[in-house]
Amino acid sequence: MKKLINKPENFVRESLEGMAAAHSDLIKVNYDPTFIYRATAPIPGKVAIISGGGSGHEPMHVGFVGTGMLDAACPGEVFTSPTPDQILEAAKQVDGGAGILYIVKNYGGDVMNFEMATELARAEGVRVLNILIDDDVAVKDSLYTQGRRGVGTTILAEKICGAAAEQGYDLTQIADLCRRVNLHGRSMGIALTSCTVPAKGSPTFELSDREIELGIGIHGEPGRERTDIKSVDEVTEILTRSIIEDAAYSRTLREWDENKGEWVDVELINPPLEKGDRLLAFVNSMGGTPLSELYLVYRKLAQICEQQGLQIVRNLIGPYITSLEMQGCSITLLKLDDEMIRLWDAPVKTPSWRWGI
């Protein structure tokens, strides 16, 4: 294993120390338990947004703490969900009295830890809601399974909800908005190479020089299918068609019901994309893929969308949700409405995402 690290067991902590040193104007880091929060938190009267998940996906989520986005992020060990106590402490740190939204990717580990953290926070009188992101169309069937994973749509929801919180939306409004973003986002990814978890020291899987993994998640795990290497146009076609042709997707997700004071199963349906829809197109690097290649993906994606009568009105291209040094990419298409566009364009100032201020 060749990495720019010291001891693997100190990797997450030392990386956060680097962030703390670099961005003391924006963020503060708490180490035991570990979370990153806005230097200005809590902000009285503002809904706080918290996300978290395993480390190894940087800049998500730790790089997105700041004005117009997250109030706190809870990084777990590499590819391992954070623990409930971490999340609880972060919640208490940033609670400005207007409630807290947890934005949670739909992985068993994340879901269970955030559910426990919701229960703990509520037991301490902190008003928390919990919205799941499950946008990965590579996962086909939802019945009796874990359902779809949360991937690219996560950070789009963080940006949009972060802006809404900044503009004074209340907790229910932001939870509704977050759910709506999730219902209109779809993603899929591929890998050219595996990645090496520092504590493991060798690649999670081996791919020959002629193979790629289709339908991967973001934890360095293998994908739905292994196939021969293809041109970027073919790869983009597969990803884009899988997203565009994805039918209405129906499943139940657990949300906290404030009236009942318990978890309820909510039935939710993603409407399929339609001609004339306005889209945000997000081409994401898994970490090791050069920006120049992402633009090749975007080129083909834009061509297909145009042919299909889909209108890309915003885009995001770069390494935002990574799996360490993995080579590969993912595409996310989010159907936008006027409100989402306005919130997307709103100013943001975090260590890894900045515009308008």
Partner: protein
């Protein structure tokens, strides 16, 4: 009767087994997950192991298991953190205040742990998770008790059932956990969380046998 010393030994043996099998568990998880199960479990049980001396004066087995649960919940993370955490939490409630465990107590402990995992993770038998190890072992223990077997004998059949259950995860198509994202490709691999669950029961048996 199972006493406090047994419990502490069990935790120690389990922690040691996890340490010894850290890489094995991680490799199993690399095949159908994200290559961290051994690392996760070892992080949690190293903490538990370091806490064991502080339990020396603590006679209440329920309290010990509750502390272990909190340690696991706050140090493992991932899916196995809440699951093992919940297993120990519910187990601790089942034997709250007890300084010694009867055969019935052990049965209730195992059943409560399983129920906790089922409630938290919502997996069903055959989903290729630790449930496929925990569930048949509890059933075997209960059956053995019904047949009038000793605790040690019952635990032996439970471990045998766990081993069989673990083996049975290999041909299964995963429906919960990360392996489920692999679809058909999850077939042919042994479940990592089931493997650690088997080690947990095996450790308990070894302590009682000793």
């Amino acid at each position: 009767m199972v006493n406090q010393a047994h419990i502490l030994q069990w935790l120690q043996v389990f922690a040691t087994k996890i340490e010894q099998n850290k890489e094995y568990l991680t490799e199993l998880d690399a095949a159908i997950g994200d290559a961290d199960h051994g690392i996760n479990m070892d992080r949690g049980f190293k903490k538990v192991s370091s806490q064991l001396p502080s339990f020396a004066d603590q006679q209440d087995i329920g309290s010990i298991l509750k502390t272990v649960s909190m340690t696991l919940i706050s140090s493992i993370g991932g899916a196995s953190g809440p699951l093992y955490g919940t297993w120990f939490l519910r187990a601790s409630t089942a034997v709250a205040g007890k300084q010694e465990l009867t055969q019935q107590d052990v049965l209730e402990l195992l059943q409560a742990g399983l129920d906790g995992v089922l409630g938290r993770g919502k997996a069903q038998l055959g989903d290729k998770t630790m449930v496929d190890v925990l569930s048949p072992s509890v059933a075997a223990f209960r059956q053995a008790v019904g047949k009038g077997k000793t605790t040690l004998e019952a635990l032996k059949t439970a471990v045998t059932a766990a081993e069989q259950g673990l083996h049975d995860t290999i041909p299964m198509l995963a429906k919960k956990g990360r392996a489920s994202y692999l679809g058909d490709r999850s077939i042919g691999h042994q479940d990592p969380g089931g493997t650690s669950a088997y080690l947990m029961l095996k450790s308990f048996l070894e302590v009682l046998e000793a």
